[in-house]
């Protein structure tokens, strides 16, 4: 155990110097690729906002099934099969038909080249499941159908969330998928997520519909309230225009009325439809509806053929800016709910860094003093190793640009406390060996050899705990498991290579000195 080849000594020295260099890059600016690396500070240290959003897919499923009604009706109409009594209950679509057509209808849904029920060859599954009892059919999304639907609405929602956040221009946001219906948003440096929360909380589904009189509309009608709750209006279900047709939207000050408005311009299709609707509907009220609430319902005075217009609705400049932003970035496929939020202000972050550093320094100094008084010269070796251990640990974190959290700092401090364990095990063992063995070299050698299994066991158990934490834990806790886990490797390296090398050098010079340790 005591022999070191020259090559190995060189290797250890180079590796240590390499990590010292990397660790030092945290303290100065450099353009060199390797030296420009820095440890990232977690949101709990630099301040910022963590939001976990969940996509509410229920309305999407219901909407899709609702849309299916017309598809199914038309499809079977062409085949001269009458399907009736469509009903949507709890994400199931029911309909009935003549019992004679039962098998024909089932076949249409269940064949692999079904026109109304896509078949996923890869998953050996249809999009929809169909059940039949007498003449009553029940259509619902299959397991795979739900998976695909969730995946596509997650992709779309992610894109829209990214656009909305980019529009606000926060620095380096982190937007990630979580599971199959969640989106994680990390916003470093943002201490008041109020605006972002309110922007993400809106689906921003914009539609233009005519206000009608009671129930005379062939498309059906519905009663909607105004955004400000002042009045109600009955509007047709027919959509004149939707947010999809929007090219741009901007907040403006209307110089005539001195009111803040949102101006918009439409794409070609939208402009055409808007022109037609406004020319046919002069004198009617056109309701501008956002997420099921009427923003305003102006009376159409003139045909608007230019493909641009404006929305007024008692906006403040802020609310007009936000509405324009929402309209520009598009509607979410489904509502998002914020199911978890953690926000840390920048000054608390700084306080945490300070407290963490003070705890680290004090803990470090206490351990070093204790070890020095306990082991004297070997204490110096242990302490030197401990310092190198810490630097290498920081070096590795820097190399991988890992994220350091407050619990992560706790992990480092704990590593300092536990790192001495390996050296203590070795030194105590050597002391025991020296009771029977007078030759220092032999005693040291067997001390190292015999303590090996205990050290390995001890570190593997801690490593197991760290690995579990890393995979099960979230956010800051992950940071703790990371530093604790990496700390185990750096500890083993520094104890078995650096400390052992220094010990060997010292012992071989003092081979015959009694009471060495």
């Amino acid at each position: 155990m005591l022999y070191f080849s020259k090559l190995r000594i060189i290797f250890i020295t180079i590796l240590s110097l390499f990590f010292i260099l990397i660790a030092s890059s945290n303290f100065f600016q450099s353009n060199n690729g390797l030296l420009s690396k820095k440890i990232n500070l977690g949101l709990d240290l630099q301040g910022g906002s963590y939001l976990l959003l969940e996509i509410d897919n229920k309305p999407v499923i219901e909407q899709k099934l609702q849309n299916l009604t017309a598809t199914i009706r038309n499809y079977f109409k062409d085949k001269n099969i009458k399907v009736t009594n469509f009903k949507l209950i709890d994400q199931n679509l029911f309909f009935s038909s003549d019992i004679n057509f039962r098998n024909v209808i089932l076949e249409e849904f269940q064949s692999e080249d079904s026109k109304i029920n896509p078949y996923y060859q890869r998953f050996k599954s249809h999009q929809l499941d169909i059940l039949v009892e007498d003449d009553l059919f029940k259509v619902s999304y299959s397991k795979q159908g739900i998976v695909n639907l969730k995946a596509s609405s997650q992709d779309q929602a992610l894109e829209i969330v990214r656009r909305r956040i980019d529009e606000i221009g926060t620095n380096e946001p982190n937007i990630l998928k979580r599971g199959n219906d969640r989106i994680l948003v990390e916003l470093p440096g943002l201490d008041d997520p109020m605006r972002i929360k309110s922007l993400l909380g809106k689906t921003a589904n914009l539609t233009f519909k005519f206000v009608t009189n009671k129930n005379e509309d062939s498309f059906g009608s519905e009663k909607l309230v105004f955004e400000d709750g002042s009045e109600e209006a009955i509007v047709s279900k027919r959509i004149i225009l939707s947010g999809d047709n929007l090219l741009d939207a901007q907040p403006r000050m209307n110089s005539e009325t001195n009111e803040t408005v949102v101006t918009f311009s439409l794409d070609r299709v939208g402009a055409k439809r808007f022109g037609k609707a406004t020319s046919n509907g002069i004198g009617k009220r056109l309701a501008i509806i956002l997420d099921g609430k009427i923003i305003s319902a102006p009376v159409i005075r003139d045909t608007i053929a230019t493909g641009s217009g404006q929305i007024s609705g008692g906006f403040t400049f802020q609310s007009a800016t936000d509405l324009a932003l929402l309209l520009r970035s598009g509607a979410l496929p489904a509502p998002l709910n914020i199911i978890e939020e953690r926000t840390v202000g920048p000054d608390l972050g700084q306080d945490s860094i300070n407290a963490g550093m003070i705890a680290l320094i004090i803990g470090f100094v206490l351990v070093i003093l204790f070890i020095f008084f306990k082991y004297k010269i070997f204490g110096v070796i242990t302490n030197f190793t401990l310092i190198l251990n810490l630097i290498i640990l920081i070096g590795i974190l820097t190399l991988f640009e890992a994220t350091l959290t407050l619990p992560g700092i706790a992990g480092i401090i704990l590593t300092v406390g536990m790192a001495v364990d390996a050296n203590v095990l070795i030194f105590e063992r050597i002391k025991e060996e020296l009771k029977d063995e007078k030759n220092n070299l032999i005693a040291f050698d067997s001390g190292y050899t015999k303590s090996k299994t205990a050290i390995l066991d001890a570190n593997i158990t801690t490593l197991l705990a760290a690995i579990i934490l890393f995979f099960m834990g979230s956010g800051p806790i992950k940071g703790f498991s990371l530093t604790l886990g990496i700390g185990i490797f750096t500890t083993l390296f520094s104890v078995y290579f650096i400390a052992r090398l220094l010990t060997v050098l010292y012992v071989s010079k003092n081979k015959d000195k009694p009471g060495l340790i």
């Binding site: 199911i339 978890e340 351990v367 706790a410 197991l464 579990i468 979230s474």
Partner: protein
């Protein structure tokens, strides 16, 4: 040599009563779950006006119909921690801000806001329980591979003792259980195992070496031989933890306290639980030699 074995029985009875009391506490008093596991909202406030205190804040906020609300100082006089049950109101933080500004003037700094929905908190609790169970399971497998079953049983009993008594103490003192406490408990599992394994390693070595010493005596020899290491490592770990506890800020207080308890219990249980299991199972040289043959 210290005669640890003289107190095996006494400390076994003590540990057993501690475990029973802890289980009763966990059963009847329960744990004080923080918002991570219960759901709800937490706000850390700093006021610049020294006249504002806990009771004036509480009076003001209790008019807002936030349900069961808790307001207390956090670290110092001007820092407050406000917690309340989950609230469906999405704009509750904004409303609190407006309300406080109206009542006390613009004297507040919202240092931290955490809001955990009921679904997420249920998931966090579940994954926390799974994490601890998986950790205990893996330790069991590891030690089962490394040692004979008598040793595994001893180590696992020590582990369960440490986890149960630490949680019992948290229940007794009404300390909050949050995500970082789970991290602490897992680290305690690792540490306690570590400590036990080092002594067991020595017990096994001595079992091979001496065939004529009874396990009752042999465990005592092994404990004594590893005692200085046990103490030094416990002391350095405790020094680090005390430093986190006193200087690491309020956020890490619960975590470091749990770890401090855990290290003390872990050190104690390695000596007085893990080893006494070996004694009670009457482990002898045959046990390890049979184990050697098996391998």
């Amino acid at each position: 040599m210290i005669a640890f074995n003289k107190y095996y029985n006494k400390f076994n009875i003590l540990s057993l009563s501690l475990v029973i009391v802890s289980l009763l506490l966990l059963l009847f008093k329960g744990l004080n779950f923080g918002i991570d596991f219960k759901g709800g909202t937490l706000i850390e406030l700093r006021s610049t006006d020294t006249k504002i205190n806990v009771s004036s804040l509480r009076d003001n906020l209790s008019q807002m119909n936030l349900g069961d609300i808790s307001v207390k100082n956090f670290g110092n006089e001007n820092d407050f921690l406000i917690k309340f049950e989950n609230n469906e109101n999405k704009n509750v933080i904004e409303e609190i801000k407006t309300n406080l500004d109206k009542s006390f003037g613009n004297n507040f700094n919202f240092r931290r806001v955490e809001n955990v929905g009921p679904k997420v908190s249920a998931e966090l609790l579940k994954s926390g329980v799974i994490a601890i169970s998986v950790a205990l399971g893996l330790m069991l497998i590891y030690i089962w591979i490394r040692f004979e079953w008598q040793f595994s049983l001893g180590a696992i009993m020590a582990l369960f003792h440490d986890v149960i008594v630490t949680l019992g103490l948290f229940s007794l003192l009404g300390l909050e259980i949050n995500l970082s406490i789970i991290a602490a408990v897992l680290t305690i599992v690792g540490y306690s195992m570590n400590d036990t394994v080092v002594i067991f390693d020595r017990v096994r070595e001595n079992l091979r070496k001496y065939s004529d010493i009874k396990i009752f005596e042999l465990t005592n020899i092994s404990i004594n031989e590893t005692l200085s290491r046990t103490l030094i490592t416990s002391i350095t770990t405790l020094l680090a933890l005390l430093s986190i506890f006193f200087f690491g800020g309020e956020v890490l207080k619960g975590f470091s306290l749990a770890m401090i308890f855990g290290v003390i219990f872990g050190t104690y249980s390695s000596i007085y639980i893990a080893n006494t299991v070996l004694v009670r199972l009457n482990v002898s040289q045959k046990t390890v030699i049979r184990g050697d043959d098996k391998n």
